[in-house]
């Protein structure tokens, strides 16, 4: 039946100038395909009109159309209608969308050709780009120890196969460990996460490598050789008893990453009390001994001989794995970039992540709100001595998100976490006025809308209208916004402003992409193999993405994705074979397969 196909290819070259695609080359290629009898540019069709293209199609006896382009889908409906009016089957309009398989740069021209050819010959691109099957090493590498990495590791370890979990910082747990509560159930984040962390620490099938980074990856799907840099922890994991005497005596302080900089930690430290592993490590960047060669107080006070080795050097270990799951997470938007909100200028303006720590019972102020002050050494911290009860609080949504001046995309979680923070604030400070400023309230998940309704009923003011600025007028800090639904200007005098900062790709994303040979999009998030049907695969076999590094998402979606990535790994382990999907290939390698399909 396919042989009777008489295919016309319509090229949509929108966006080509940005991507550097050579459409002429693609057209030439398409012309050579034996089923293709006509080639048009969409521009030409639009100019000459519908009647013209109908007569063209009729004349050339074309019964199938392929629309090729970076994002050609817009014209599908139009051309289906054209086919209908030609008396053809409107279903025989196929899309050859390059972006569907992230073929969006000029290096991807062979991929684009393959996509066109597959559409012309009804071949399955996903099958075509599998270059046979490799045998699989049953070990798996998981990069990133946040909730996604943890979930994926546990999932695989449950099958009694080895997992290497590599985490950059001194503990697993990631951002989720920093949160106070999770929406919409208000489960305490630590309560549900720490058992999982402990499980990772105890699982005999998981080899945890904290304070480590992936340096180099070689090999092919099913058999990757990975070089891992184990940064010198300078504290012996086996010997440290976690007594904390070293940290007590350590003279050097630096902002604590875990506390989002709201408080200081020592140069020798445990990231947080429930850290896994619950052992100390030394931050070489601030350690006086490492920096100047003088100090070593910690060694003196350590009760375990030989536990602290200040001269320990970084080590490189090599492992071999069959599959790799990337779950490196995200970073939050730097609110300093938007001047009008006064972050960094007014101490009362804080980010949502800082508030998560402040409001957390294990945070710097024991769950109380404090004013940001500068300590003697110039660090801006939240001190328990500065606790106050803000009477009026503004929470401003979409800081750095949904904004063409910063990040265009929606960070997906801010609406909900803001509602949660409003609830927590309201709970702690009964009399205070909490106001949320939003654009669109995105309460989309299971139980989210119900949560939103509940917060509204709790007496939180929810104002449609993005607050535009925070400014000091006299002694008052004023948030200015339009209350759209009530048609008025709000000038709220506030004691605390919380900026609901968006999420951005991790600073390591590009580097990791390079090491692994996979690609990131313009925002720095990893590209999936197919954004609809293969949401965890990448363009390279045996490498999967999970969690926030693929795009902003909430915890259940991250967990589901992590499990899905684990499924891909387990599948290959179960059948002991893995598809040899390549990131780069040339059209000649696949042509024969397409024509035979």
């Amino acid at each position: 039946m396919n042989y009777s196909d008489n295919v016309g290819v319509v090229f949509v070259n929108e966006g080509a100038e940005n991507n550097g695609f050579n459409f002429n080359e693609l057209k030439e290629y398409a012309r050579k395909l034996n089923k293709v009898t006509s080639i048009w540019d969409i521009q030409e069709i639009l100019q000459k009109g519908k009647k013209w293209i109908i007569s063209e199609i009729k004349e050339k006896n074309i019964n199938k159309l392929v629309i090729a382009g970076i994002e050609p889908g817009f014209y599908k409906t139009f051309l289906a209608n054209v086919m209908l009016e030609c008396g053809n089957n409107p279903e025989k309009v196929y899309l050859a969308s390059f972006s569907e398989y992230a073929a969006t740069t000029k290096n991807d021209i062979d991929k684009a050709k393959t996509i066109i050819a597959c559409a012309v010959y009804n071949a399955d691109y996903e099958k075509i780009v599998d270059f046979g099957e490799n045998s699989v090493n049953t070990n798996t590498l998981v990069i990133g120890g946040g909730i996604a990495g943890i979930q994926a590791s546990l999932e695989i370890a449950a099958s009694k196969n080895k997992v290497y979990l590599v985490e950059k910082s001194g503990t697993i747990g990631g951002h989720m460990a920093m949160f106070d509560k999770t929406f919409p159930t208000l489960d305490c984040a630590a309560c549900i996460l720490t058992p999982k962390m402990v499980e990772v620490g105890q699982n005999p099938y998981i080899e945890l490598m904290t304070y480590s980074e992936v340096l180099e990856v070689n090999g092919e799907p099913g058999n990757y050789q990975v070089k891992i840099l184990k940064k010198a922890r300078r504290v012996d994991l086996a010997k440290c008893i976690g007594c904390g005497q070293c940290a007590e005596k350590c003279p050097t302080r630096t902002p604590s990453e875990f506390d989002a900089g709201t408080k200081l930690r020592k140069a020798i430290y445990i990231p947080f009390p429930q850290a896994v592993p619950n052992k100390y490590l030394i931050d070489e960047k601030v350690c006086t001994y490492v920096q100047t060669g003088k100090c070593g107080i910690c060694v003196k006070f350590c009760p375990v001989p030989g536990c602290i080795n200040l001269d320990e050097k970084d080590k490189i270990v090599e492992i071999t794995v069959g599959n790799i799951i990337v779950a490196i997470g995200y970073k939050v938007f730097d609110a300093r970039k938007i001047e009008q909100y006064g972050y960094g200028k007014y101490p009362e303006v804080i980010t949502s992540l800082e508030l998560e720590r402040l409001i957390n019972a294990s945070g710097p102020t024991g769950g109380k709100i404090a004013r940001r002050v500068q300590d003697k050494k110039g660090f801006w911290i939240f001190s328990p001595d500065e606790i106050y009860e803000p009477k009026s609080i503004a929470i401003i949504h979409c800081i750095g998100s949904r904004d063409e001046n910063y990040n265009k995309y929606c960070s997906k979680v801010c609406c909900m976490y803001s509602l949660k923070l409003a609830h927590l604030l309201k709970e702690k400070l009964h009399d205070s006025e909490v106001t949320e400023y939003y654009i669109d309230m995105r309460a989309f998940g299971k139980g989210y809308e119900e949560f939103y309704n509940r917060i509204k009923n709790e007496g939180v003011n929810i104002v449609r209208g993005k607050a535009a600025k925070v400014e000091k007028i006299g002694n008052d800090l004023i948030v200015r916004a339009e209350d759209i639904e009530n048609g008025k200007i709000i000038e709220q005098k506030v004691d605390l402003v919380v900026l609901a900062v968006g999420l951005e790709a991790s600073e390591d994303a590009k580097k990791i992409a390079q090491i692994l040979g996979i690609s990131v999009d313009e925002n720095g998030f990893f590209n999936e193999f197919n954004n609809i049907s293969e949401p965890v695969d990448t363009h390279k076999g045996g490498i999967y993405v999970a969690g926030l590094c693929q795009g902003p998402k909430d915890i259940p979606d991250s967990v589901a994705q992590a499990s899905a990535a684990a499924a891909r790994v387990l599948q290959s382990i179960a059948k002991q074979k893995i598809n040899n999907r390549k990131q780069n290939f040339s059209i000649s390698e696949v042509e024969a397969k397409i024509f035979n399909a």
Binding site: E71, A158, K160, P195, C410, A443, I532, L570, K575
Partner: protein, 568 residues
Amino acid sequence: MKELRIGVYVCHCGTNIAAMVDVEKLAKELSEVKNVIVARDYKYMCSDPGQDLIIKDIQEHKLNRIVVAACSPRMHEVTFRKALEKAGLNPYYLEMANIREQCSWVHTNRNEATIKAKDLILAAIKRVKWHEPLDKRSVPINEATLIIGGGISGISAALELANAGKKVYLVEKSNKLGGIMNQIDLTFPFLNSARQILDRKLSEVVNHPNIEIFLNTEIGEIFGYIGNFETQINGNKIVFGNIIVATGLKPFDASRIPEYGYGKLPDVITSLEFENMLKSGDIKTKSGKQPQSIAIIHCVGSRNEKYNVYCSRVCCLTALKYINQINSVLPETSIFDIYADMRTFGKYCEEFYSSTSRKNVTFLVFDQKNELPKIREASSSDKCNLIINFREKLSGEIIEVPADMVILMVGMEAHEAAKEVAHKVGVSMCGNNFYIERHPKLDPVATTTDGVYVVGTCQAPKDIPDSISQAKAAAARILATIEAKTVDVEVTTAFINEDLCCGCQTCIKVCPYSAISFDAVKKVSIVNEVLCKGCGTCAAACPTGAAKAKHFTDVQILSQIEGLFSYA
């Protein structure tokens, strides 16, 4: 009975408990209770050091019963059971007193809360005395999986498992695989072809040697337990180890909303009906004319207490997709998009919204909660078919929108088969008939019934990639259990004491799992413990006291009640 040596551990949970319950005082007072050898309070009992504390005490003080007063047992019972096990004690010698979720968090009077906590702990102490050691049992796993529902979620899960070399039975109620996705033309936000994606998957499924497809089939009663389920399909017995439920969605019935006149006004159509027009780009009103203007109304049946409170998650983006598609074929047609909150939260979806707003579209906002737009037939002077009348929220103006066609973005509801399937496989549903997952955050695909997973829109509204992710996540679980070869089964089952059973058989019809049968020779009823899920209804019904719900025995519960009042 050996001498009772009870250890009591009261958790501060940071300040979660300690703020409302005087845990230190409790620990002190409890240490004086009979049989209590040690009573301690600790910051985080669930933490490693907390657990170590228990383990050390068990070994040092030869404790043989442990009471942990902390959070809900639903949270950490497993954690502490593991700790007991580590210390060499049978894990079922543990009892938890829930002094957080059901005490410190819900009360405001510290004194009263402390008294209540003490009651709860004393009850636990009384109860734990009667605890019996129970042994974990594991059963081998059948490698096959039953998937109920042949939509995109079911198909994705089937492929994931089948490609791993595992047998899959894919049961679909209708005569066609693909489910709702069959009706969808393009996907958002890239406007890729849904059909091409589905075709690819379908051709793989249909030809897969490991997938057995049953169309036009409804599942029968399912017997068994994780690793070893069985049922009849078309008269043949099939056995399988796990079940994935992917029963999918049912579109909201728009005729329930009187304001929209769906069913009465011919040019008011639902999104899925419109989707059908889009496949051929043949957008026509009922009278066969090209519409000059089309209005799209969001949140139809969603986000409104009268219908469904929840958000259906995909309608906003679907509407944006329609705008593009209408614009593709009818560039001159004006489009009005009437929304409540624009929920374009996915990857590239905000960008999609942005690019769509450059099309020939006017976005308007309505109050989906209190003031639904009213659609009426236009008069002959109006030059359009329909008039939509509502208060536009972003201007406060009451306006009329002329349209030749109105598309109602109907929300998602659970499939009508969901309830029946829920009963057959033993999963719970929330008020709105979506299945309840084991944990909304950390276990979104498993259910409270081992070996049964829920994926896709039967769990909550979601889009295609999220459904696929979930399907794969469920497959991961199943593959991991299969790889692990065996699985632990329920140990808190019912048990019938043959020495007491009189053979009255009252219990047999009571059992929802047909786990009890009558032994005509011994003249007693007996429980098949692998079928039993431990509800204990038989124990309550048994007039002789022969039937016993392990870990929830009469004496345990009666002692617990006694304990609640032992301190007054």
